[in-house]
Every structure is written in C-alpha cells, then in structure tokens.
C-alpha cells in the first residue's frame, strides 16, 4: 500500500518533533535523577520550607524593617526592594543624563557635539563592572564623617555614603509614593476619558500635566484628611555616624552612579537615533513657517521622536534592572546577593534559591513585555 506523499511528510515531521521532545525530556530526567541522588547524599531536603527559617545575616541597607532574626523570606523581600530601589534611582538619573547627552549629540554646535560623542563612546565601551569598582573606590575614599562634604547644605557625603534628609517616620514615604502612584493612574484615567469626548482627536490638552497634578495632589489630599505627622529630619554629624536622615550606603551610591552613567550612554544613542529618524523636511518646514529652534525641537521633533524610542528605552530599563545584579560585586544586598548569594551559601539550597531569583527576573521581563505589547497595540491603533 502506498501512502500519499503529504501524509508521509506530515508523519515524519511529527516523528521528528516527538524525537526532539523525547530527547529533551530524557535529558531533564537524567539531570533530575542526578540532582536528587546528589542532594540526598548531601542531606539537603528539597523544597521551599527553608524560607521560614531564621536568616541570621545582617543587611546594611533596607527599606523595610529587617533584623537577622527575620526569616529568609523577609530577606528576599528586602533584596527585591533593594533591586527595585537602585533600578528606579538609576533609571531616573540615566534618563536625565542620556537625554542631555543625546540632544547634545545632534546639536549643530560642533564642540558640544564632539564632546558628547567622546563621552558616550567612552561610557559605553567600558564594561559596567569597571565603572562599578571605580565608583566604589571613589565612594570609599570620601572623607571621614567628621570632615564630610556638605552637599548644598542638606546632605553629607562621607565614607559612610550620602546622608540625605528623610521623613521622621520612614513608613510615611512609602505611603506617599503609593498615593502618588494612585494619583498618576487616576489623573491619566480622567484625562484620557476627557480627551476621548473631544470632537477633534489629537488636539486636546497634553496628558502630562494631569499626571503631575495627580501625583502631587492626591498624597497631599490624603495627608490633609489623615492625622499623620510629616516632618523632614535633617541629618547632623554625631560621633562616628549621622543622626537623622537616611544614609545611602557607598555600595548603593556606587551601583547607582555606575548604572546611571553606563546606561545613559545607551539612552543617548537611542535619543540620537530617534531624533535623526525624524525627516529633515519636518525641521525645515517648521523653520520656514517661522518657528524658533526651541519650539521646533519641543513641539515638532520630540513628539515625533518619542514613539519609536519607547520600545528601545524600555529594553534599556529592563537591562538596568538586570544589571543591578552587579551589586553582588560590591556587596550591595539586592536580589542576587541576598537570596542567590548569602541565603544560598547558608542553606545550601542552590536549586531553589537560583530558581527563585530567576523566576523573579522572569516576572519583571514578563510584566514589561505585556505592557509593551499593550502599548504597541495602542500605537498600532493610533496610526491606522
């Protein structure tokens, strides 16, 4: 009996795939067999029960209350928050520096253009770890607390790090940020509702003032109706340390600076590419209509350049989050050095700890790509 060529092709394809899957399954089976044999030989029980045990190690910088008596799980949360903290700080500073460098890169001013080019090329062609160890050395070489450098009268820079004013009750800042975030969402939602009702699409007021008002107004409103007491606490030198305020440790400062300057070079290149992708005719038309250079830049070029920029900038931000794992080099207790490092070494639960850390990073990138897809969908709708 002859089978038709079509079915024989299909069967061979199915067979191939089955073979590949079987091979992969066999590989995993072999690895798991080995692992369970090795683990039982070492006397390590698999599972995540160890997370409830006492951690027993100190973390010098933490956003939430933490002592060595807390559990490994709480140490994980401290690490996660530290990762997010340094990432958010770096994203803010890197964006600021990157936009400045990128705009200078397309400037007509030859001197500024060349200087920015040199800076960008130097920053991006030196590995992040070299940036980091250099900044860390610099931070540790700062003067002692007694001779701390005064930063604009509000902060102190010493070999203990940067001490800045902070609310007398630390928890308040978290609440303020939370309400601020809610305010942004609320402001954005109200504004976009208002804009969809306008007869002429695209000519409504810009979105960002509403976001800004929401971010500022809602926390203030909540503060006014609640009975919380807000007070700025200025740091003052006291013996070998500072009293009051919050101290950003040298590790945090070094990681923040290194990540910001390194990533700024990538953002600068994105900004440059985006601005240059706007057709020259747009610029010339605007100048011909008598718009000033500044107005042309901010009302014509930037709005057009910003949409193609967003996917690339997002991936740079994601890289900042991933690169914050370099904190392990200087001993900044973020996700990888807390759970993937100290917890792992103390408990020996290598598989669980690394899986936990990796899963957390996967969640970050999954959430980001979902947001990106949503955004691309929106933009796709807008351009059609």
């Amino acid at each position: 009996m002859r089978t038709s060529p079509l079915t024989s092709v299909r069967w061979s394809s199915v067979l191939q795939q089955a073979l590949v899957l079987a091979l992969v399954a066999a590989l995993f089976y072999w690895l798991i067999q080995n692992a369970s044999a090795n683990l039982s030989a070492l006397g390590i029980a698999s599972g995540f029960d160890f997370l409830d045990q006492r951690a027993g190690y100190a973390i010098s910088f933490s956003l939430i209350d933490y002592t060595p008596d807390d559990t490994y799980l709480r140490a994980y949360w401290v690490g996660l928050l530290n990762t997010l903290l340094v990432s958010v700080l770096s994203i803010a500073l890197a964006t600021l520096l990157g936009v400045i460098l990128g705009v200078l890169r397309v400037s007509d001013n030859w001197l500024l253009n060349r200087m920015s080019y040199l800076a960008v090329e130097f920053l991006r062609n030196v590995p992040l770890i070299v940036h980091l160890i250099w900044w860390y050395g610099l931070m540790l070489a700062m003067p002692r607390v007694r001779d701390a450098i005064d930063v604009f009268g509000v902060g102190f820079l010493s070999n203990r790090g940067l001490t800045v004013p902070w609310a007398s009750q630390g928890g308040l800042v978290g609440w303020a940020l939370l309400w601020s975030l809610l305010g942004i969402i609320l402001g954005g939602w109200l504004m976009s509702r208002y804009r969809t009702r306008l007869p002429w699409k695209g000519f409504g007021p810009p979105l960002w003032p509403a976001l800004l008002v929401g971010a500022v107004l809602l926390p203030l409103l909540v503060y006014a109706v609640s009975d919380a007491q807000w007070q700025w606490e200025l740091p003052e030198a006291k013996g070998f340390g500072f009293r009051g305020g919050i101290t950003l440790t040298p590790e945090l400062m070094a990681l923040w600076m290194a990540l910001s300057f390194y990533s700024a070079s990538y953002i600068a290149e994105i900004v440059r590419g985006a601005i240059q992708s706007v057709p020259r005719g747009q610029y010339e038309a605007s100048r011909a209509l008598g718009f000033s250079e500044t107005r042309t830049m901010f009302q014509l070029i930037v709005p057009q350049a910003i949409y193609p920029m967003i996917p690339q900038v997002t991936s740079t931000y994601l890289n900042i989050i991933k690169n914050s794992s370099l904190g392990v080099v200087v001993g900044y207790m973020e996700l990888v050095s807390a759970t993937g490092g100290t917890t792992l070494n103390q408990t020996g639960q290598a598989i669980e700890c690394i899986a936990l850390v990796m899963a957390t990073y996967c969640v970050f990138s999954l959430v980001t790509s979902l947001l990106m897809n949503f955004y691309n969908h929106r933009i796709g709708l807008r351009t059609h």
Binding site: A37, E121, N125, V126, P127, I129, W134, S325, Y361, C362
Partner: protein
C-alpha cells in the same frame, strides 16, 4: 579692494566657526563655557596622566612626581596579560592572540572565499583551546594558571565562535513550522534573555555540580565558558532571526522551485546571505560579550578585572585604584571602540553594495 571683499565674504574657516560654534547667544555661551572648561582641565589631566607621572620604578615610594603612578601596571604587565601562565610557554598565548586577531582583517577582504573564512572561524576555537590548554604534544596548562587578558580573550573569542552555530540553530528553530521545536526554542531564548548573566554564572559555579553524576566534575573555566555560550547564543539567535526576516520571500520560493530541501535551501541560499548581512550586528554582539566576560570575576575566575582588583588590594600598591582602573578602562575602550568603528564601516559598505 581685495581686503574689502574679504571682509564681506569671510574666510570659509571663519564662516564655519560662526555657524558651528557661535550661531546665537545661547550657543556662544555654551561654546565658551565648554572651551573654558577644556582649557582649564585638559592641561591638568595631561600633566597627571603623562608629564608628572611615574613610569619607571620598583615600588610606590618611587612615585614622587605628584602625577599618576603607573608602576602597578608597568611592573605587573606580565600578570595582566598572561596571568600565571608558565613563563616558557607564553609564545602559545601570543600565537593565540594573533590567530584570534586575524579574524578582523579576514572579514574585510572580499576577495577571500567566504568558505575559507567560515572554516577558519570554525576551526579557531579548537586550535585556541589546544594551544592554550595543551595536550597533543604541547605541555598541559591547568585552568588555575589562566588569568588576566588571556582569560578575557579566551572566553570572548571561543565563546563567540561556539555561540554562532548554536545561535543559528536557535534562530532557525524559532522560525520553524514545527510547533514543538518552535516552542522549545522560544522558551529557551526568552528564558535566557530575561535573567541576568550573573544568575547564570552562579548557576554554573554552584548548581551544575548537583546535576552531574557523582565523581564527574567540569573545570570552572569550561563551566563559565558554557554559560557564556548559552547566553550569547540566545541573544545571537534574535539577531540572526532579524536577518532571516529581512530575507526576500523570493529567495525561499526560488529554492523551493529548484526542488531544494530545507537544509539545502538554508545552507546554500539563505544563511550565506543572512550571515553576510548580520556581520555588523554580530560584531556589536561580540563587543557585548567581550564586556560581559568581565562578570566571571563574580564566580572567582581571575580575568583582567580580577587581576586589577587584586592589584589594587595588594599591600604594596594600595591606594592606586585610579591608575589601575583607568588602565583597565582604556584597555576595554580601545578594543571595543575600534571594533565598533569597524562594525560601522562594514555596515556602510554593505549598504553601498545593496
């Protein structure tokens, strides 16, 4: 008369200065401020770097010029380049460096048959491995003697060349019509791309041992090499996938019309074109990998960063971080910047040839 016309139509150089440096008040202020900053800082920096710096001497006490003290780099240069490689065998390292560097000019000459270049690149990692690690007539060198620039180049070049075939297979798998193969490739690529390299390196140093049968051990250098290959291949797959997507549909159809099988279509028609078009982005990826290799210091492999860190913490050279790290930064800057300019150049050539 000539002086009058000259004053009406200024010299081109002057016009350039006016247009590029002083077109309006704000720009003029910025230009002058930058110029002032440069005039103030450049002499000081040059003085520190070169004129008052100390290049010859044996200990920190010899640094009296008030400038940079390059002695830790000068006195330890062998350690920086060769690590703990046996002194009598350093010719092998030099030869390996030359062989690796030869790829760059090979990519440039269009006259050379691409199959020779590809063959060279396929053979190079094995030759380098044999040269550096020994065996087959050469005395064997332990991985613990590997350190410094040697490790950086070893991991960068071998990692890149091993990642290339794996990246190609992953890219083809991701575009495959067979759902099981596509799913596996997508899972692998996305998983690897979403975690930091450091977690993968931790995996290599702490976890791999658990998954191997008892008594089997893999050298730490080989383990980090495998991780770098796995990691680079995932990113490379995306680059090559971009190249595959950019291929005209007619190419596939023509191959099909000629009755070519899938593998023949790919290896004879599609991939040669894709690889040629993706040389610049692949070179950029190599720069990325070259910078990423520095992370191996986290799991205790002494690459050039590790040597630098141990130098700055050595008691006789303590307090000279700036000089050592500046040397390190310049090392990476010179190589990566040159390569990125070269990639730009190849890209422009490709655009012209289209």
């Amino acid at each position: 008369m000539s002086s009058l016309s000259a004053s009406r139509r200024p010299h081109p150089a002057l016009r350039w200065v006016h247009k590029q440096l002083f077109p309006n008040l704000l720009q003029s202020i910025l230009t002058l401020a930058t110029l002032g900053l440069l005039l103030w800082s450049v002499p000081k920096v040059l003085d520190w770097l070169i004129f008052s710096a100390t290049f010859v001497g044996s200990s920190k006490a010899d640094c009296v010029g008030g400038g940079a003290c390059w002695l830790p780099v000068v006195n330890r240069i062998d350690l920086f380049v060769y690590g703990f490689y046996p002194d009598t065998e350093t010719w092998r390292v030099n030869l390996a460096f030359v062989l690796a560097g030869a790829i760059i000019p090979l990519l440039y000459f269009k006259r050379i048959d691409r199959r020779w270049v590809l063959g060279y690149m396929m053979l190079l990692p094995f030759v380098m491995w044999w040269l550096l690690k020994g065996g087959l007539g050469l005395s064997s060198v332990s991985s613990t003697q590997f350190a410094g620039i040697l490790v950086t180049v070893f991991l960068g070049v071998i990692g890149m060349l091993f990642a290339l075939p794996m990246g190609i297979l992953l890219a083809l798998g991701r575009r495959s019509k067979k759902p099981a193969i596509k799913l596996l490739c997508v899972l692998y690529i996305e998983l690897v791309r979403s975690v930091p390299v450091i977690t993968l390196l931790f995996m290599a140093s702490l976890m791999v041992q658990l998954f191997l049968p008892e008594g089997v051990t893999i050298d730490i250098l080989a383990r980090v090499l495998i991780v770098l290959v796995m990691f680079t291949a995932a990113y490379m797959a995306e680059t090559i996938r971009g190249g595959l997507q950019g291929m005209a549909k007619g190419q596939y159809e023509a191959a099909k019309a000629l009755g070519f099988s899938y593998w023949k279509t790919m290896s004879v028609i599609i991939l040669p074109q894709v690889l040629r078009n993706t040389i610049p982005p692949l070179l950029t990826q190599f720069i990325g990998l070259f910078k990423e290799t520095t992370l191996v210091v986290v799991v205790g492999v002494l690459d050039v960063v590790g040597i630098a860190m141990s130098t700055t913490s050595a008691p006789e050279w303590i307090g000279l971080e700036h000089e050592v790290y500046l040397f390190l930064a310049m090392f990476f800057f010179v190589i990566c910047f040159a390569l990125s300019r070269y990639a730009r150049h190849l890209e422009k050539q490709l655009e012209k040839s289209r």
